[in-house]
Symmetry: C2
Subunit: 202 residues, 2 copies
């Protein structure tokens, strides 16, 4: 049996076990049982339970990162690219919360217990926002002298629509209006975000 | 004793009892004991424990509202007024979290268990943001055709700096930079938040 066992199979089984038992109770023995192998076989792929949990968390986050990475539509303005990107992220988070709240809560716990994983996740997504902002600066649609810092500000200003602490609000009937209003304000800000000294046209 | 007992004295004692025992354990009997009166005397002022808890929560929130209500400095632009207001709110929340985390957590629980109180609090503060935005629209510094909606968008875009779910982040050494970047983006957006059809000067 152990010969055919792949890391991918272990990770898929771990996700299923975590969903079923929750992160507090799930054990490596449960994962081994689900696969019909000894726990030693699992440990040959993942040295400790902590390593296995981190690997399954990264796998889950990588799936989000990959879905969020799309080629830019050259016909869209940077403002529309940013709006689309934030909307996709919001829809994805909202759907994963409503469709499978146990899995959402499980991964929230797993991500929360590992600050390196949080950083990995945020760096990736804020990096994607930075790419869009840089495209907007290149076409002179956006104004900023610090793309990274501005990307972080866009991320922070839209926390209500992606930070899991706000997941309870995502079912609110007015949430899409709130999203539209915040994103309009942010995009307008990117088109006019000048330092006071540079503001001759206010 | 009961003749001299005022509602204000009961509310102050209730806050102290909540701070000491936490919202799960504090009882009306504890409040009465702290005041050296019978619990019947307390009930003559507040018919139920729920009514007493709501009153003490509103009193705490009213203190915040009052501190946040200041006359506008006529020498400041609306952008600077808004920045100052948001900074004061952030400083106040951050301080109350770090100085007395038990009381902060207690009131977070109390506010969280009463949606009418949350609404009361948010209406008040978002109303103050709307006042500042309206002043900016009057002087043509800000552009918006819906002051209330835009005030809500400013509130939502700055949640990281006032929503208690983000309190853990307030000790981050970069949090003031993050605040400055978000507020700059928001103020820039207010100065340029036009609907697409009205944007002839983009």
């Amino acid at each position: 049996m152990a010969e055919a066992l792949t890391s991918e199979a272990i990770l898929a089984a771990t996700e299923e076990v975590l969903r079923r038992y929750g992160p507090a109770k799930a054990t490596v023995v449960d994962v081994a049982k689900a696969l019909g192998v000894s726990h030693g076989s699992v440990y040959r792929h993942f040295a400790t339970k902590a390593v296995l949990r981190e690997a399954v968390t990264r796998r889950w986050l990588d799936a989000i990162h990959e879905e969020m990475e799309k080629e830019f539509d050259p016909n869209l303005s940077a403002g529309d690219l940013l709006r689309d990107w934030l909307q996709r992220l919001f829809d994805k988070k909202r759907l994963s919360h409503t469709e499978d709240v146990e899995l959402f809560t499980t991964f929230r716990t797993l991500v929360g217990e590992n600050s390196a994983v949080i950083e990995y996740h945020l760096d990736h997504l804020v990096g994607q926002v930075a790419r869009i902002i840089r495209a907007g600066v290149d076409t002179q649609e956006f104004v900023t002298d610090d793309v990274e810092k501005t990307a972080q500000a866009v991320w922070d200003a839209t926390q209500v629509f992606h930070h899991p602490a706000h997941a309870q609000e995502w079912g609110n009937p007015h949430i899409q209006d709130a999203f539209d209003a915040v994103v309009s304000l942010v995009v307008a800000g990117l088109r006019y975000n000048r330092t006071p000294s540079a503001t001759g046209d206010a």
